[in-house]
């Protein structure tokens, strides 16, 4: 099982202010540190028009990290594929694959913030279908010298892309949330699945569902790879862990949950302004488990027993100190 982590979110969050250019430099430094600590992958995410200067170009940020690392995988977690022409996304991924000598792994998500869809002129209701189609275009573009594709949203005829990537195709994952809808969609399409943060029992259920649907659809088991996002609030005592979770979740609730429609219901529809008592928010809240170091190790072992391929954990230094030695 691979261990992945973040390279630090470049942002000037209103509750955790940092200098912006220094933050970008720190992201490259964070990749060096993650590699030294023994992680297998570092990730960068994507958002546009954010007041906090969040990085809008994850593959470009990873290009900085490629230049200063040797071994670690360079992950987008997630890149919002429906906001791109898939050929542009393919060009970016190929560029990074060459720069890093084959270390790119694309976590590809749908996105959720309305103004991103509106501004790039993509109908948000089409994002799920665009993600699946776009990933097929990426697979073709990075594995075939010449390809054609005819989908509902994208059509290409006899496209040849130069230069060629090192990997063929470039590794990628479908970041489809943590709903049965997303799990089934990934399984049906036979796409590797990177599951969003969710309580471990729920994650186990979704992974089973994904594999069941994938096998039923005729995809070979080795193609049905699974990664999970798993953020844990680790502290010596449970009360400290609860305090840490409240601090981390409050800002996220006030921005992404209330205003940006981050959460979706079982049918894939966005929820705006859900109260904190809403069961879907409650599930999201409890997905960030509060644990002591011993409990954290047990939690990760559960995922290992599920036979997943990779686990993403944001708490880099603590994970390196407490958890990695148990698994590496």
């Amino acid at each position: 099982m691979e261990f992945w982590t973040g390279a630090g979110t470049v942002s000037k969050n209103r509750k955790m202010p940092t200098a912006i250019a220094a933050g970008y430099s720190a992201a490259a430094d964070a990749a060096i540190t993650a590699e030294k600590l023994g992680f297998d992958g570092v990730s960068a995410a994507e958002h546009h028009f954010m007041y906090d200067a969040f990085t809008p170009q994850p593959l470009q940020s990873l290009a900085a990290m490629a230049a200063v690392t040797e071994r670690v995988k360079l992950l987008t977690g997630a890149m919002l594929l429906p906001l791109y022409d898939p050929l542009e996304a393919a060009e970016q991924s190929i560029t990074l694959d060459i720069l890093s000598n084959g270390r790119v792994c694309m976590g590809l998500g749908m996105g959720y913030r309305p103004l991103e869809f509106n501004t790039f002129g993509t109908a948000k209701r089409t994002r799920g279908a665009r993600l699946v189609e776009g990933m097929e275009v990426l697979r073709l573009a990075t594995s075939q010298e010449t390809f054609s594709y005819s989908g509902k949203h994208y059509q290409y005829e006899n496209v040849s892309m130069l230069p060629r990537p090192v990997q063929s195709p470039i590794e990628m994952y479908f970041c489809g949330g943590a709903t049965p809808f997303g799990a089934r969609r990934a399984g049906q399409a036979g796409l590797p699945y990177w599951l969003a943060n969710s309580p471990t029992d729920h994650a186990e259920e979704m992974i089973k569902e994904y594999r069941r649907i994938g096998l039923e659809a005729g995809h070979p088991a080795e193609q049905l790879k699974v990664a999970v996002f798993k953020d844990l609030c680790i502290a010596d005592t449970m009360s400290e862990a609860f305090e840490l979770r409240d601090f981390m979740m409050n800002t996220f609730y006030e921005e992404h949950i209330l205003g940006y429609g981050y959460l979706v219901d079982a049918d894939g529809k966005n929820l705006y302004n859900p109260p904190k008592e809403h069961p879907i928010y409650q599930r999201f809240y409890s997905s960030m488990a509060c644990v002591t170091p011993e409990m954290a190790i047990e939690e990760v072992k559960r995922y290992e027993r599920m036979g997943i391929d990779a686990i993403y954990m944001g708490n880099r230094d603590l994970v390196a100190q407490l958890i990695l030695p148990e698994f590496k």
């Binding site: 970008y24 430099s25 809008p56 470009q60 940020s61 060459i98 309305p114 501004t119 209330l258 205003g259």
Partner: protein, 309 residues
């Protein structure tokens, strides 16, 4: 005079090795005091670079001083918002050393106005907060209608628009929007290749820095730059706001031709100084083949100090 480097990526070789060689040369050039590195956008060969800003972001974290320019950028392969963002991100990683140079419309089979709108848009995107833009080829945000004035506009001082933080706005599309992050510099340098007359005139009147590429014969190249200067002077533009570029192939101790500057180190210094007097440029970009020919070090030691002086 400033001296920069660009590379000919028009060959079929191993891209990993070739790109690494160019990166090594950028790092070396940074240490030797060269002023700029130009990576052209391309999709024609095994070593072309379709995303030069990404490539240069890798160079940004390995260098300290050298200006990093995404060259021959097209407007049809990326949304203009992404072009503004990519330069801003490069500028942040390099702490203020990013630039971008666009192909002319004719050289990328789009209307000149299309390129002009993108140039105007990215400059506003880097410097304005909430704004909208209406052109023939670009509306930003995408819901901007015909009631908006042409070009960029910002909310009126007496606007009744109430400020709503973006995290409270929900699914409503704002009328004005801020592109983020902002570059580290106030305004990264924007260049355009002036390979035809209307682009040259527009660039001169608008204060956009001109580039004449190495595939234009030297005599014609300096004449174009001289013409640019005359038009800019007539339009009242300050010479301080632009950075005219002459790109040339060069060979030390070799023969020159209509496109290549050649001669001994002393002869090259005299040739470049003479061209500078005619063309009124002060930034020479040496277009190099991807090879370890040893000439970079000679140039840095023998020629560059006398050009930069």
């Amino acid at each position: 005079m400033k001296v920069g480097l660009s590379w000919d990526l028009d060959q079929n070789a191993d891209p990993v090795e070739t790109w690494r060689s160019v990166l090594d040369e950028i790092i070396q050039a940074d240490g030797l005091g060269f002023d700029s590195a130009w990576i052209p956008e391309g999709r024609d060969t095994a070593v072309s670079c379709p995303q030069p800003s990404m490539y240069l972001t890798g160079a940004a974290v390995k260098t300290k001083s050298i200006q990093l320019v995404a060259a021959s950028r097209t407007v049809g392969h990326a949304h203009p918002v992404r072009i503004a963002e990519e330069v801003a991100v490069l500028d942040l990683y390099s702490q203020g050393r990013a630039g971008i140079s666009f192909l002319s419309g004719a050289n990328q089979q789009v209307a000149e106005q299309h390129v002009q709108e993108v140039v105007e848009f990215v400059k506003v995107a880097w410097t304005a907060d909430e704004f909208r833009y209406r052109g023939d080829y670009l509306q930003f945000p995408s819901n901007t209608g015909d009631e908006a004035p042409r070009g960029a506009s910002e909310p009126e001082p007496n606007s009744a628009l109430e400020y709503v933080p973006q995290w409270e706005a929900g699914p409503v599309q704002p009328e004005y929007l801020t592109v983020t992050p902002k570059p580290h510099q106030r305004l990264p340098m924007v260049y355009i290749e002036v390979d035809e007359e209307t682009t040259l005139e527009w660039a001169a009147r608008q204060g956009v820095s001109p580039v004449v590429r190495a595939d234009v014969p030297t005599e014609e190249a300096v004449e174009r730059l001289a013409r640019y200067r005359r038009i800019a002077d007539d339009a009242g533009r300050s010479r301080a706001e632009v950075d005219p570029i002459l790109e040339r192939h060069m060979v030390i101790d070799g023969a020159g031709d209509s496109h290549t500057l050649g001669g001994s180190s002393d002869e090259l210094i005299k040739i470049v100084r003479q061209l500078k007097l005619v063309g009124s440029f002060r930034h020479l970009v040496w277009k190099r083949a991807v090879s370890d020919d040893g000439q970079l070090l000679r140039f840095a030691g023998e020629i560059q100090p006398l050009l930069q002086a």
